[in-house]
Symmetry: C2
Subunit: 458 residues, 2 copies
């Protein structure tokens, strides 16, 4: 184990070294992400229109493609200090197990009760809602991490919190509901009978296990029909990637502290919040021509928006009540097989990441579920941390790349995002242990059907 | 929020500041803890006798009342670096919520997959088993934290691991089993039909929800009847307190770094592993007359060994196969009401802590369950971390003491041990939210019955 004397197992920044501003990668993008469109007129959504759904200041952040650094309000920085900086871990034990010359680092975002990076944006969104004098917020949640994060942020600030949780996750993760309840939130399995759109989806697809797209529609409906409420979202949106840039900024600061330059940055991608945040300062350098990095998005083979989707305008939600976003999408009606990475079961992808991918600035890989859990278990046994299924997608590719280095002898430096812990995913691990894991991959015929339903643009 | 500029929210030591040796508080005790006795002869257990049950080097540590510092082997220090140092957190948000002049700190041991401090001793015990060339180890677990910790340590070192889990916890925490399985352990609910003693207990107490005492008996039976196996224990023993001193040593180093002197140190106490570890260096100063601290053990009112037990020789296990230990005990047949702090459901208490308590060097308080969960929820909402029920006993008393400071205006510095997270305790939180929490406290008559069964000593 070389280097142990120089590079610690975990690099923690001092509080004084924590980012004071978020970094807005859009400012450095030559090709800006395409604007959100009004689903009726197909014209770019105005701040006024967006303000009916989102908090005012978040609308500004959503639309701001120019400001490179946006200051993190002191209240949010204080909250960050309760669970950040998160450690950048050198995976010495994994390297030894794999007998690879590669140097592997992971940014571990799971050491907070929400169990993931989601808290970084939850506190920001709740803060601006509070600042605007709102009564509460509504949202959807997949694996439950975003919902938990938002519940925590709302409890801290004294806001009401209504969460629509994708039914398959609600059933697989009964205790997640109780965690959110501990933080005072109300949680409804989606699709539900509590909204018009929920009732419609249930009538059309009885027995559906739900999707993030359905849950978003329900949460938006509740927000726009209850005075004093706004909708908040844990992924996809530009504002979320902005808040999540704290992950990448800390990662870069930690690497810089020890003079480490990564060759490769890997992250799982559902809506893109973690990956977008992790890569942002590195992508910024790449966009400005200051450095080059290989950047890899990893998605489930059962929900392959980057690798098998199309880059087109589509609805963000199944109910088609949200604005249209230009993104890599499988079609807003696409409901993936009930895989166990609830946080990656989204039909589309962040418009920012979609543009970067379209411009050839990053790659994507789709991995099957069983291979993901094999990587998860191997990682847990040597590195100690029980990873979330979502995060394990990144682990899978990091291990694959480290094994390639073993073949070639290359001493590449690999950084990946370990977004969260799998404590509430034990039903999935049980299926894996019992050999009952499903590796369903959609056929081309299926994908074609959903693709045909994309909105017609002029 | 005064002081924020000086004292960070979380104090992390550098790797180079981590303890290189464990501290053995027995070396500074004028009145040494009473020796373990052979249950047949009532003579002190010899190293040879103990060696049939425990690993050789651990027997040495168990019997060593003289060596003040025992070096932590490099392999264990490397493992510690994967999840340690743990943060010492300044509870700024809790202080503000309580409007107290008290300064509250907590040493948070929950940021590892076992979810608690148990890993500190698990890796040490597994290491010595491996070093001795053993095939595997057996153990019992209550809440499942110790079993998970041992599974992790065994997976890391390639040892077989058999866990007997108290039935009430096994049923309340179905996912704990799956975590242990991820780390390759086998888990059996106790009492079970797999051992002689298990079958006997089941015949005498059909429908029992089990206890740590029962589970210990089963694990010991399996260890002594299978070649190449030894028994390991997560609490009570002197060796465990020795390993757990890493908690207190880090705490003290972090406080010293900022020149903070605590007035009061609070920890939950089941078998005493966390409390014993947390207080050890402070108790050392107290024993040597260098400083004074108020030290408070907190136990469940349903299992009040310190506050309502007697200081006497008793069996460590229900099956009466283990050595006798002199400790505060409720009687080895005592099976507490099925409260939700599985890790505190033990009839006895560490002999070291028992001696210190008998000598008036520390206090103890018993708290009812509902009050504990009220404190847990209050803490979670302001500090973010969802605490384990066990740890929440310490939170309860820390809050009570901080509120007393509010009355008196005293600016006391309170340090408490936050031993772990409650992610696998959501059944308990659910009962609390639904108002179905039981506050059963044993009657004097009940306690008298069990006390009458204590072994007769010459």
């Amino acid at each position: 184990m070389a280097d142990t004397t120089k590079i610690p197992y975990k690099i923690y920044l001092e509080e004084s070294e924590m980012p004071q501003s978020w970094y807005n990668v859009r400012a450095d993008m030559k090709n800006k992400p395409a604007p959100l469109l009004n689903p009726g007129t197909h014209q770019p959504m105005t701040a006024e229109e967006l303000g009916g759904v989102f908090c005012e200041e978040l609308v500004q952040q959503e639309l701001d493609n120019e400001t490179r650094f946006i200051e993190i309000p002191q209240e949010i920085r204080d909250f960050y200090k309760m669970y950040r900086p998160s450690p950048l871990v050198r995976a010495y034990c994994l390297e030894e197990k794999l007998q690879t010359p590669a140097k592997i680092y992971y940014k571990f975002e799971g050491n907070n009760t929400s169990g993931s990076h989601k808290l970084n944006s939850a506190i920001a969104q709740a803060y601006y809602a509070k600042k605007q004098g709102l009564k509460g917020v509504t949202t959807e949640t997949g694996a439950g991490q975003w919902g938990t994060a938002l519940s925590m942020a709302c409890a801290y600030l004294g806001l009401d919190c209504k969460v629509y949780m994708v039914k398959v996750s609600y059933e697989q993760k009964p205790f997640r509901r109780e965690v959110m309840r501990t933080y005072g939130a109300s949680v409804v399995p989606s699709p539900s009978e509590t909204t018009q759109i929920g009732r419609k989806i249930l009538a059309e697809h009885p027995g559906t296990t739900g999707s993030l797209g359905c849950a978003i529609s329900e949460a938006v409906e509740v927000a726009v029909s209850n005075p004093g409420y706004r909708y908040v979202l844990g992924s996809v949106l530009n504002q979320v990637l902005l808040h999540q840039s704290v992950i990448g900024l800390e990662t870069k600061a930690a690497l810089d502290k020890y003079g480490i330059k990564p060759d490769m940055i890997i992250g799982c991608a559902g809506g893109g919040s973690n990956l977008g945040g992790l890569i942002s300062p590195f992508m910024g350098e790449k966009l400005r021509g200051e450095a080059d990095y290989q950047i890899i998005a990893v998605e489930p083979a059962s929900c392959p928006s980057f690798t098998r989707g199309v880059y087109a305008y589509d609805f963000c939600d199944t109910g088609m009540v949200c604005p249209l976003a230009k993104m890599y999408t499988l079609g807003c009606d696409f409901i993936p097989a009930p895989n166990h990475a609830g946080g990656l079961r989204y039909h589309g992808m962040s418009p920012v990441l979609s543009q970067l991918y379209a411009d050839g600035l990053m790659e994507a890989r789709a991995v099957p579920q069983t291979a993901v859990f094999e990587a998860a278990e191997q990682f847990a046994r040597v590195e100690g941390i029980l990873p979330a299924p979502e995060s394990s997608h990144a682990i899978r590719v990091a291990i694959d790349e480290a094994l390639k280095c073993k073949e070639t002898g290359e001493e590449k430096t690999i950084v990946f995002g370990l977004t969260g812990t799998g404590y509430f995913d034990m039903v999935a691990y049980e299926k894996f242990h019992d050999g009952k894991m499903d590796d369903y991959i959609p056929t081309d015929e299926e994908l074609t059907i959903y693709r045909a339903k994309l909105p017609k643009m002029d």
